[in-house]
């Protein structure tokens, strides 16, 4: 424990927040987005985006895990032998994910139940592993921590966009609050004036292939405005 504290105190002097640090956070939001550019962590992005609330919880969980696994790996980077680094990294990630899972189970049981295996799958979420390999093994703790937060947020933002589109068109609601379509399921309550009351939920949007289409459209829009991302080959 003493060693960890020592390192923290030493790094305190390096707690700066200048241009480089700002770029670490803003870069993954657009130019280097984990999902639409690096294609990391797609699996969970598709499965948990049927409801906005699930996507928000997942985004927070992943941001927490990327930030702290980056921090811890970066602190230990000089002590990890190269041959077994994968297993060390996996143990760090698995420890953090277990913490998140138990915390979520205690705080919000229904959401934990709905996310089921996908919280566990954060372990093999390629963003976490990818950032550890690409960034944390070669950079100082504070910078790695910011990089983790940036990538987690970049992931969360795409998740929230996908989930908002899917929930709005699939169920006509956002965060379980009815926005479009009839307020009563069987259209009996016709005196209630609601927006676009003729709208019936599009069931395709609830199914998982719809997430693929939404991601494809996001990629299309993003690359239309950000020409340097276009695939030339």
């Amino acid at each position: 424990m003493a060693e960890v504290k020592d390192i923290k105190i030493k790094e305190e002097s390096a707690f700066s927040f200048g241009k480089v640090e700002k770029k670490l956070i803003s870069d993954p939001l657009n130019d280097n987005n984990p999902i639409t550019v690096q294609v990391l962590g797609v699996c969970s992005a598709l499965a948990v985006t049927t409801l906005l609330s699930k996507a928000i919880v997942m985004g927070i969980a992943v941001t927490f895990v990327t930030a702290f696994s980056n921090l811890f790996t970066s602190m230990l980077r000089n002590y990890i032998p190269k041959q077994i680094r994968m297993i060390v990294q996996l143990v760090i990630i698995a420890f953090l994910v277990t913490v998140v899972e138990l915390a979520l189970k205690a705080v919000n049981y229904p959401i934990w139940k709905e996310l089921s295996v996908f919280i566990g799958l954060i372990i093999t979420n390629c963003i976490v592993m990818g950032r550890l390999e690409a960034f944390a093994m070669a950079n100082k703790p504070w910078k790695s921590f910011l990089d983790g937060i940036g990538n987690g947020l970049g992931y969360a933002i795409i998740l929230i966009i996908i989930a908002a589109i899917r929930e709005l068109f699939g169920k006509g609601s956002l965060l379980d609050f009815k926005i479009i379509g009839p307020t009563s399921e069987y259209m009996l309550n016709t005196t209630d004036i609601s927006l676009l009351s003729w709208y019936t939920g599009n069931n395709l949007m609830i199914l998982s292939p719809a997430a693929m289409f939404v991601v494809a459209i996001i990629i299309w829009v993003q690359r239309h405005y950000n020409k340097k991302l276009v695939d030339i080959s």
Binding site: P209, M212, I219, D231
Partner: protein, 201 residues
């Protein structure tokens, strides 16, 4: 026996790991550019999935469970133990394959170590726990899941190879198109959902 065939077909087609649950998408999208490499990765996944799932079942029941070796409920350690088993087993398989069949080893190449972080493997292990299978069922589930994943990646690689001759809008080229194709294939696989697995009994 009918039960095992039933689980095999269910996990390979109806609940396909790649196209119904969208697991292992990172390597699914990254390695599906040519059919040859897709076949290599597909075989490796069948191999590792078929081994790790029964292995994890044994560990879960005889080490972590309440009736296990330590006599207490250690299931909160599942993630750490499962991922270590997978990592260790992948390493072991790699060494054995290298010794026994160098030609197969060369054709699998880098894909074997990559499988450690393929979420289809860990996901299948967690599903196996969630569905409360017994040992022989978990063997069948592991093999079926691997075969389904391999079929899916080979199919999408074949489509993507043909796609090179098509005129696709520039922003959609490559990755965007891969996402659209996977979505369409997922919808096609949903057609299999109507199959009643009881018919195979």
């Amino acid at each position: 026996m009918g039960d095992l065939i039933n689980i095999f077909i269910k996990s390979a087609f109806i609940e396909n790991l790649a196209l119904s649950y969208f697991l292992g998408m990172c390597s699914f999208l990254a390695v599906s550019k040519s059919v040859k490499t897709a076949i290599g990765l597909g075989i490796a996944v069948i191999f590792v999935n078929g081994l790790t799932i029964p292995m994890n079942w044994l560990i879960d029941h005889y080490l972590l469970g309440e009736g296990g070796l330590f006599g207490m409920d250690l299931t909160f350690l599942r993630f750490i133990i499962f991922i270590s088993t997978i990592a260790a087993l992948v390493q072991l398989v790699e060494m054995i394959v290298e010794k026994v069949s160098p030609s197969l080893y060369n054709s699998l190449g880098i894909f074997l170590p990559l499988i450690t972080v393929n979420c289809a493997i860990l996901g299948a292990s967690l599903f196996m726990i969630a569905k409360e299978y017994n040992f022989s069922q978990s063997v069948s589930f592991g093999l079926g899941g691997g075969v389904g994943w391999a079929l899916a990646i080979i199919a999408i690689a074949a489509i993507r190879e043909k796609m090179q001759y098509s005129h696709v809008p520039a922003p959609l080229r490559g990755l965007g198109m891969a996402f659209l194709l996977t979505g369409l294939m997922g919808m096609a696989f949903m057609g299999l959902m109507g199959i009643d697995p009881a018919a195979f009994k």
